[in-house]
């Protein structure tokens, strides 16, 4: 039992603090472990999250009492400001914007860790013989915290579409990136030898630049993996910060998140059929510049809502493939109504959920849960992929890349190797699309030009409302 051994070791490490403080931190650490465990199963997830929050509140309360905290009023004011900001953001955000909010929260956490380390540096430099490991941990926290901060802000900007979602690559970027890494390493060494504020600040600035250079070349579809990676980075910086402060709780919490986050990043990359290396540096090799940003003018077959309604209403088996476009149009509820009407006509309907449908793994499940779609109708990719052959109609709503056969057939495509939904095996395919613009990954979808495919152009919500009305009138 790693948990028990960990708990025992953690107890011994925070020497110098009163026993009850160490015990309180130990309780908080156990809360975090149980919280993560709970979050990995739907039955216990909500309880797990609340337990984690309780642990965090306990840890903060203990800190205020146990440490000699000056400027208490100002600090409490700062906590109040942060609480209002955090709750406001968390309550206001739409479910579609969840990935960028997580990125933003992660970024500010990384920024906070870097600032804490900079202030600790001041303390350390005042000591006659600061510990070597503590200085190394400080350098790590400043550098990686800054990377996490600026990198997360770029992912936020990309997902919020404040900037292009396509990979940003310019000549000299790989060289600049290499230079920034070397500068970061060199400055870290300098910081250990010569721990001054100035070196710390310059190191932080290099970290900010490095974060930008790391995330700019990543294409929109891969951004979720990067959020997860930066999340792990922030975890590790918190752990290193905990080492510097001699605070076991920060060490345990940060390391837990760092390890879990790294593992989660790998799970996500596997679900998308991408290696982490390719995600980060694929664009630098020129691999993902294949994409088209322009709408294609090749001929497609489009139809009116009434025609599609007949296809759906007289089918025996329909599979719905929902994508991010559905959520953008806020059409989940209309889709559920349409599916309910089809079910009442004895059409068998399932939703096929690609692991990365939406913009983050599991995102579509959240979005459909919001529209109260019954869970039994949601089929995961591996369970449903064999059933497309029997489907009369596949209705693709606002999805594109997850049904793009290029993932199987075009080794040069940025999504090559990603497991996809076998929509192309169905008898008929209907795409609800706003325009012929390519999907998030920026590549054309051959399936749109397939003779079995019909397109219904328009905003997803309008199209679904029209379909709903037409099917009701059949």
């Amino acid at each position: 039992m790693a948990e028990v051994a960990l708990a025992a070791a953690a107890e011994g490490a925070s020497a110098g603090l009163p026993g009850w403080v160490q015990l309180g931190y130990l309780v908080a650490a156990i809360c975090f472990i149980v919280a993560l465990k709970g979050l990995s199963s739907p039955r216990t997830a909500r309880r797990g999250n609340l337990l984690g929050a309780a642990g965090a509140v306990l840890a903060c309360a203990i800190t205020f009492v146990a440490y000699d905290v000056d400027n208490l009023a100002l600090i409490l004011l700062a906590v109040a400001v942060g609480t209002v900001g955090g709750v406001y953001g968390a309550r206001r955000v739409q479910m579609t914007q969840m990935p960028q909010l997580v990125a933003l929260f992660n970024g500010v956490g990384g920024g906070a860790a870097a600032l804490v380390a900079l202030l600790e540096l001041e303390e350390l430099s005042a000591l006659s013989e600061p510990g070597l490991v503590a200085l190394m941990a400080t350098a790590f926290t400043v550098l990686v915290g800054a990377v996490s901060f600026s990198g997360s802000l770029v992912t936020f900007a990309k997902l919020q579409e404040l900037m292009t979602t396509r990979p940003v690559v310019f000549t000299g970027l790989p060289v600049l990136f290499a230079v920034a890494i070397l500068a970061g390493l060199a400055l870290s060494v300098v910081l250990v030898v010569e721990p001054t504020n100035l070196v710390g600040i310059v190191l932080g600035v290099v970290g900010l630049a490095l974060g930008l250079l790391l995330v700019l070349p990543v294409g929109g579809a891969d951004v979720p993996i990067v959020i997860s990676l930066l999340n792990a980075f922030t975890g590790l910086t918190v752990a290193a910060g905990g080492y510097v402060l001699g605070n076991t709780l920060l060490l345990v919490a940060g390391t837990l998140v760092g390890a879990a986050g790294t593992f989660l990043t790998k799970l996500m990359a596997d679900a998308m059929g991408r290696s982490l290396f390719n995600t980060l540096f694929g664009a630098l090799k020129g691999g993902s510049t294949l994409g088209a940003t322009q709408a294609s003018d090749r001929p497609v077959r489009s139809a009116a809502a009434a025609d599609v309604a007949i296809l759906l209403g007289y089918a025996q088996r329909v599979i719905v493939v929902p994508g991010y476009g559905l959520a953008v149009a806020q059409a989940q509820h209309t889709l559920r109504d349409l599916v309910d009407v089809l079910l009442s006509r004895d059409v068998r309907v399932d939703y096929a959920i690609h692991p990365v449908a939406g913009r983050m793994p599991g995102h579509m499940n959240v979005l459909l849960a919001e529209a109260q779609v019954p869970y039994e109708q949601l089929k995961e990719m591996d369970d449903v992929n064999g059933e497309f052959k029997q489907a009369d109609v596949v209705l693709v709503v606002g999805a594109n890349d997850v049904v793009n056969p290029a993932a199987r057939t075009s080794p040069g495509a940025p999504i090559y190797g990603m497991p996809i939904l076998n929509a192309d095996q169905a008898r008929q395919i209907v795409f609800l699309k706003r325009s012929m613009r390519p999907g998030f990954a920026g590549i054309e979808n051959e399936l749109l030009f397939d003779p079995k495919t019909t397109l219904l152009f328009g905003d997803a919500r309008d199209s679904l409302s029209k379909l709903l009305a037409s099917v009701r009138n059949l």
Binding site: A35, K37, F105, G111, G131, L250, A260, F263, N365
Partner: protein, 103 residues
């Protein structure tokens, strides 16, 4: 030195624990799990409070207070938004069907 070894022990055991506790997660929960883990590292607020509480110059105090605000946003916002997501996952059929092994 024994202090450093103890911290190293904590670190190594935490790595194994971190991987172990989430190793069986289904892709359905990737988003809330990432968000929840994100909230947990917001506990850097503890560090921010410590350094802000020890600040001796105005400059250090300002930096410390900024760190406190950022860390609080991370921690509070993270837990609230994760709860909002998970609130929608709670129909009874759902929980029975998605029960994990060894949870």
């Amino acid at each position: 030195m024994s202090q450093e070894i103890a911290l190293l022990t904590v670190f190594v055991l935490s790595v194994f624990t971190g991987v172990e506790v989430i190793s069986k997660v289904s892709s359905t929960l990737h988003t809330p799990l990432m968000s929840g883990a994100n909230a947990i590292h917001g506990v850097i607020l503890v560090g921010a409070v410590i350094v802000a509480g020890q600040a001796e110059t105005t400059g250090a105090l300002v930096v410390g207070l900024v760190a406190v605000v950022l860390a609080t946003v991370n921690m509070v916002g993270g837990f609230v938004v994760t709860d909002r997501m998970l609130e929608m996952f709670r129909s009874p059929q759902r929980t029975q069907k998605k029960e994990q092994h060894g949870g």
